[in-house]
């Protein structure tokens, strides 16, 4: 697959390529000195570019086709993974992946939206857009985790629940609603992580939990900037403004009291180093699960409900 380079990444990548080239051609100590200098420059450049990203640029990073997806995290973070299939009612929805794996020594249930990397795999996973069957599979697995007292980790990365005819026939709304209610009272810890796109109810459908985290370059909102632009501006052209207006980045949601923490990404974003990203996330998850394991189920559920009850802003 051709490498995707976003506009604002170009100056960084150019310098990095130059360093690569110099390394390839010489072991001369003078050049090593020169490489060090350029490396310093590229780090500064990267820092300054990433410190100033617009919200729309974050959305672009969240959608970067080389970003790690759910299956990448599963491969890099857990051992002994067993994927489970199907909702026991209609079919297996491949837009949501679920199964059990070991995070260090303890079992966890991992559930996540799954996008594809090329046309074929995107069609297979329906571009990470679940049908009701996906939400029902997720709930079936969560009930299984509850039965065997295994904590749940969900990874959110979807452009939205699939707006198709059959999805409506089989109750897309009911499937999402049911998950919101059942996840609110699932008697095992749930950690939710937005790893890419958190588009609306399609994301939230596996997004209720005790700890809500977002990776540094992700977005989470009620609607995508494009759709928001088309409805409120009546044109697809205002996506940048819509992204600004929606305040949909990790720091925004932290400020709004919705998420608990922001998980840092490797320099240049998660897509630049899958291994390092997975390592960071794994350590964060281990810490969160260790803390949550100390809380008794009744207390956990009480806290979970209160956590969401506090969200919102009103007068009077």
């Amino acid at each position: 697959m051709a490498k995707t380079i976003l506009d604002f990444e170009k100056p960084i990548i150019t310098l990095e390529e130059k360093i690569e080239e110099m390394r390839r051609y010489s072991e001369n100590p003078d050049i090593a000195q020169e490489i060090k200098k350029i490396e310093k420059r590229v780090n500064q450049l990267r820092q300054s570019i990433f410190a100033d990203l617009t919200r729309w640029q974050r959305v672009q990073l969240a959608r970067h086709p080389e970003r790690p997806y759910t299956l990448d995290y599963i491969n890099l973070m857990v051992t002994d993974f067993v994927e489970f299939h199907g909702d026991r009612a209609f079919r297996d929805d491949k837009a949501i992946i679920g199964g059990f794996g070991k995070l260090d020594s303890a079992s966890v249930l991992l559930i996540g939206h799954q996008k594809g990397r090329d046309t074929k795999s995107n069609l297979h996973h329906n571009f990470g857009m679940p049908n009701p069957d996906g939400y029902r599979k997720a709930l079936r697995l969560m009930k299984l985790a509850e039965k065997f007292n295994i904590p749940v980790v969900t990874l959110l990365d979807t452009p939205g629940a699939y707006p198709g005819l059959e999805a409506e026939e089989r109750g897309q709304a009911e499937a999402i609603a049911r998950n919101l209610l059942e996840m609110s009272r699932l008697r095992v810890p749930i950690v939710v992580v937005v790893i890419g796109e958190g588009a609306s109810g399609g994301a939230l459908g596996i997004g209720v939990g005790d700890r809500i985290l977002m990776l540094e370059n992700t977005w989470y909102s009620v609607i995508s900037p494009e759709s928001c632009s088309s409805i409120l501006w009546r044109s697809w052209e205002y996506k940048e403004q819509a992204a600004e207006a929606l305040q949909l980045t990790a720091p925004d949601l932290k400020k709004q009291g919705i998420i608990d923490d922001i998980v840092p990404e490797p320099p240049g974003g998660a897509h630049r180093n899958h291994e390092q990203m997975a390592k960071i996330l794994k350590d964060v998850l281990l810490g969160e699960l260790k803390d949550l394991a100390k809380i008794k189920p009744e207390k956990l559920l009480e806290r979970r409900i209160e956590k969401f009850a506090k969200m919102g802003a009103w007068v009077g």
Binding site: G160, A161, Y162, P163, G164, L165, A167, E168, E169, R170, G171, Q172, A173, E174, I176, A177, R178, L180, L181, E182, S184, R185, S200, G201, L204, G205, G207, V208, Y220, S221, V222, I223, S227, C228, I231, L232, W233, R234, Y238, Q241, A242, A245, L246, Q247, L248, D252, L253, Q256, I258, R304, I305, F308, A309, M311, G312, A313, W314, V315, G316
Partner: protein, 279 residues
């Protein structure tokens, strides 16, 4: 998911079109019947000829559902705080007072306590006329308080929905109202207090995908549009015309997502009969 802009504008023009000049008569846009205002009231705002259910506000719905004079409204002046300082072609801070002025409401939902055939209930009723019945923090908080009250007083809960979905101008906070209301309903369910959800035209997006679909009993009015994605979006996705009756109440009943479709005239008696079994 999000409410549709077209709804608000269209309603005004539709109402103007439907209401004949002297304001005493209304034309049914389904069958063309001309109905006098007093007759409209007698038929609880449905067409006496073809049965079409016209959209009504929370006040009218409360009158048709509760015992006369029993309703006590709560939090009537709660309003949006504009947490994101949202601006599109217009400031949300300006849209809200305009909607308040136009509708005489402070947001898209009214809640309170009352009686149905002498039984204590907690009711929450949405108003589609307020920013397309969209759910932001105020709707979420009011639903949440209604559930709390039902829980504390062990009274059955009835929610009447009509909504275009979550309100874009409060961003992710609107989205989280889905989780907030559903979490509170989980607590209500644990306490075994009945919740009846009534869906009216239209109930779509985040409201359908949270409390509207979570009733112990799900009821809809005849012909009500109920769904997750709006018909326009689905049509765009599949590139085909949608089948007749798609996403209408009868379609949902057929597919197993509703317990019943009930005429507005029968709604109170039906709810009362259900409560006689469940509480």
């Amino acid at each position: 998911m999000a409410w549709f802009k077209r709804s608000k504008e269209n309603i005004e023009s539709e109402t103007q079109r439907r209401e004949l000049p002297d304001g005493q008569w209304r034309k049914c846009d389904q069958c063309g019947e001309i109905i006098h205002k007093t007759e409209l009231g007698q038929h609880v705002y449905t067409c006496p000829k073809c049965g079409t259910h016209f959209r009504i506000g929370s006040k009218e719905y409360i009158n048709c559902l509760l015992d006369e004079g029993s309703f006590k409204e709560q939090d009537s002046k709660m309003r949006s705080a504009d947490p994101l300082k949202f601006t599109d072609t217009k400031k949300y801070r300006e849209r809200i007072p305009e909607a308040i002025k136009k509708t005489g409401l402070y947001d898209a939902l009214r809640w309170g306590t009352g009686k149905i055939e002498k039984k204590n209930v907690v009711v929450a009723v949405m108003d589609f006329s307020f920013v397309g019945g969209s759910m932001g923090s105020v709707v979420g908080e009011k639903i949440s308080r209604a559930i709390d009250r039902a829980w504390k007083t062990k009274s059955p809960l009835i929610i009447v929905s009509s909504s275009g979905g979550a309100r874009m101008m409060e961003g992710a906070l609107s989205l989280m109202q889905m989780a907030k209301t559903s979490a509170k309903l989980a607590r209500l369910a644990e306490a075994r207090i009945p919740y009846i959800s009534i869906m009216t035209d239209p109930t779509t997006g985040g409201v359908t995908a949270s409390y509207a679909m979570l009733g112990d009993v799900n009821i809809a009015e005849p012909g009500a549009l109920i769904g997750f994605a709006g018909p326009r979006v689905i049509k765009q996705t599949i590139g085909k015309d949608l089948p007749q009756g798609f996403q209408r109440a009868e379609f949902l009943l057929e597919h197993g997502f509703l317990d019943m479709v009930v005429h507005r005239k029968e709604m109170k008696a039906t709810v009362s009969r259900i409560l006689s079994h469940l509480s």
